[in-house]
């Protein structure tokens, strides 16, 4: 899998850089959104909801990182994550208004 390429940033390495960015940065952003939206949406006492949401967010982050490297198509993955982010975002804004 780790074939030595000629140029420094060949297709393989670019793929790794892309997936790392996606997993580490976008994965964190998505987990943060999940923590925020669940803190508002979970049907329990507010402080409890924050605790549960934050504890779940760490596990989600790990799963997202692994997913980022394991997915077959990076672009399809980015689309799914964007959709999830949108869902979390709208939950959050909707909960904030009500």
């Amino acid at each position: 899998m780790l074939k030595q390429g000629g140029r420094w940033l060949d297709g393989h390495r670019l793929d790794i850089v892309l997936r790392s960015l996606l997993g580490i940065a976008a994965g964190y952003a998505l987990s943060a959104l999940l923590a925020a939206s669940l803190s508002l949406a979970l049907p329990m006492a507010r402080a409890e909801a924050v605790m549960v949401a934050t504890m779940l967010a760490f596990l989600t982050y790990v799963a997202l990182i692994i997913w980022a490297y394991a997915a077959r198509n990076v672009w399809r993955l980015a689309c799914i994550w964007a959709a999830l982010a949108l869902l979390a975002w709208s939950t959050m804004t909707w909960m904030e208004r009500t």
Partner: protein
């Protein structure tokens, strides 16, 4: 990725996330494991305190000593001797003084004579403890972010490591001795699987302890970032220590204290593990209360804080028993994880169990780092040896053997530096880093195998020498501590000797001749088996 299966991807992810932060994780794991004995290490580092020995009447005498030492104080806090520290530690606050953590005046007393003891200034176990979660010499927040990121990588390495092994149960019972790379792999797997629950718990709980730094977005959304509101909502399991909150309150009128013996006896009857500490508010005055705290804990759901009983100190009558409330499921889960990570409630046996699990975790990280190098030896022989391999190989020596050299140096400086040296505790820490940096330089200057050998020699000398040097102190050396049943001190010395023995074992394997094979392979195997043996030795 595109062309490879899910397990291959995880194998790749495991290797690289592990390597990137392996050195840091090894240091965090080792110092973190030592932190289970943070108080014991600090105690060992102050031989001036070692003559103190707890008696049955110590608690009663301590209260009497406080009546002499601080008769006019607004409050007393007395920490009684335990198996972790055999002295009495007292603290008091003057009338109107604000009660803060580490505030007031504090003295360490001999548990028998109640004379004040002055231990040498030392950074003690506290330095190792703080290093494992905020490093040193940088802004605290930065240190915590770095450790938090490393912990996250660790969790990714654990999960991806599990995914790699579909035959995790069989792998666990596989050990191929003297097979170079295979042996390393098997050791790494066995260590990882054997204490997998521990590794997951310690890593995840480590992240949770930093959750408000690393993942504050829930509080941000639900409380608009108002931490104070969140914490008061969640409820602190531990109520503040008794004491006057009003700053300019006049002290109440004098009123003699009831004899403390019966109060202590009543509490002792209730708690078989005994009393951990005593707090008295407005001692010797009207309305004075005496609060006793239980040793250990009854449940982990509420931060593992023990039960407390409050007496009216004037009459000696029982006023109330305080049990911390069990919070909701989310907070309880968090509390269990944080209690397991910090282990403040644990008795000596659980402490040792976690220590062993932590040592296995340290060895798991170490074997993983060495495996990375051993696995790439064929490439080295083919002349396709990357400069990066050399970097990893050298840094491994300093990160593993070198860290032990640094810890040994730290303990030696504690023994050698004059007690009156200004900034003494700081010099212990400087010595730690000077030794570690020297080990890194040494690893670069010497031939690889030679570097391993020489640093292991240093570890043997440093660690075996410490218990011998302890014979300078009449109450601290092994013969005295075993004869007097002071197991805190004795086990520290024995652990030092065991570490020296481990390093000696590794050396013995490095020197042992191996069967004929190409030179490079022989070298790899010797190093491999030596460290292997070290690892096996560390796992009972």
């Amino acid at each position: 990725m595109k062309e490879s299966g899910f397990r291959q991807v995880n194998s790749w992810l495991h290797t690289w996330s592990g390597l990137l932060l392996g050195w840091l994780l090894f240091a965090i794991f080792l110092t973190g494991t030592l932190s289970y004995f943070r108080q014991e290490i600090t105690y060992w580092m102050q031989p001036e305190l070692h003559a103190s020995q707890a008696r049955e009447q110590t608690a009663e005498h301590a209260v009497q000593a406080m009546q002499r030492l601080a008769p006019d104080a607004a409050s007393w806090q007395i920490t009684l001797p335990s198996e972790r520290n055999s002295t009495v530690r007292v603290r008091w606050y003057d009338q109107g003084e604000r009660v803060t953590k580490g505030g007031g005046k504090s003295v360490t007393l001999d548990a028998t004579t109640m004379e004040p003891l002055s231990g040498r200034p030392t950074a003690g176990g506290e330095f190792l403890y703080r290093f494992h979660f905020e490093l040193y010499g940088m802004d605290r927040t930065w240190g915590r972010w770095i450790v938090g990121a490393a912990t996250m990588f660790m969790l990714v390495a654990i999960i991806s490591g599990v995914i790699i092994h579909k035959k995790i149960f069989i792998d666990f019972f596989t050990f191929r001795r003297r097979k170079g790379q295979r042996s390393w792999m098997d050791a790494h797997n066995a260590l990882a699987v054997l204490s997998l629950p521990f590794h997951f718990m310690i890593t995840y709980s480590g992240l949770l302890l930093f959750m408000f730094l690393l993942m504050p977005w829930g509080i941000d959304a639900a409380y608009k970032g108002d931490m104070r509101a969140f914490f008061s909502d969640r409820g602190r399991a531990v109520s503040p220590a008794p004491g006057p909150d009003a700053k300019n309150q006049a002290a109440p009128a004098r009123q003699a204290m009831a004899p403390v013996g019966p109060m202590l006896e009543a509490a002792n009857k209730q708690w078989p593990q005994g009393i951990a500490s005593i707090s008295v508010s407005q001692p010797g005055r009207a309305g004075s209360t005496m609060e006793l705290r239980q040793k250990g804990a009854q449940t982990l759901l509420n931060h593992a804080s023990g039960e407390r009983v409050v007496f009216d100190a004037g009459s000696g009558a029982l006023k109330e028993t305080i049990r911390a409330d069990v919070p909701g499921a989310g907070t309880s889960t968090y509390n269990v994880f944080s209690a397991l990570h910090r282990l403040r409630f644990a008795d000596i046996w659980l402490r040792w169990l976690f220590f062993v699990a932590g040592a296995m975790g340290t060895a798991m990280v170490g074997t993983g780092m060495i495996l990375w190098v051993v696995k790439r030896l064929p490439q080295k022989r083919k002349g396709r040896y990357h400069a990066g391999h050399r970097l990893v190989e050298r840094t491994n020596v300093a990160a593993i053997a070198g860290l032990f050299v640094a810890v040994g140096t730290y303990f030696w400086l504690n023994r050698l530096l004059p007690a009156s040296l200004p900034g003494r505790a700081g010099w212990e820490i400087h010595g730690f880093f000077i030794a570690w940096t020297s080990a890194l330089l040494h690893a670069w200057l010497r031939e690889h195998r030679q570097a391993w050998k020489e640093q292991l020699y240093a570890v043997v000398l440093l660690f075996a020498g410490l218990p011998i040097a302890n014979f300078r102190y009449p109450d601290s050396h092994l013969a005295a501590s075993i004869a007097n049943g002071r197991w805190t001190l004795a086990s520290m010395d024995l652990a030092l000797l065991a570490t020296a023995a481990l390093a000696a074992w590794a050396l013995w394997y490095l020197h042992a001749p191996t069967e004929s094979a190409p030179a490079a392979k022989r070298k790899a195997k010797a190093v491999g088996q030596a460290r292997q043996q070290t690892v096996r030795e560390a796992t009972p």
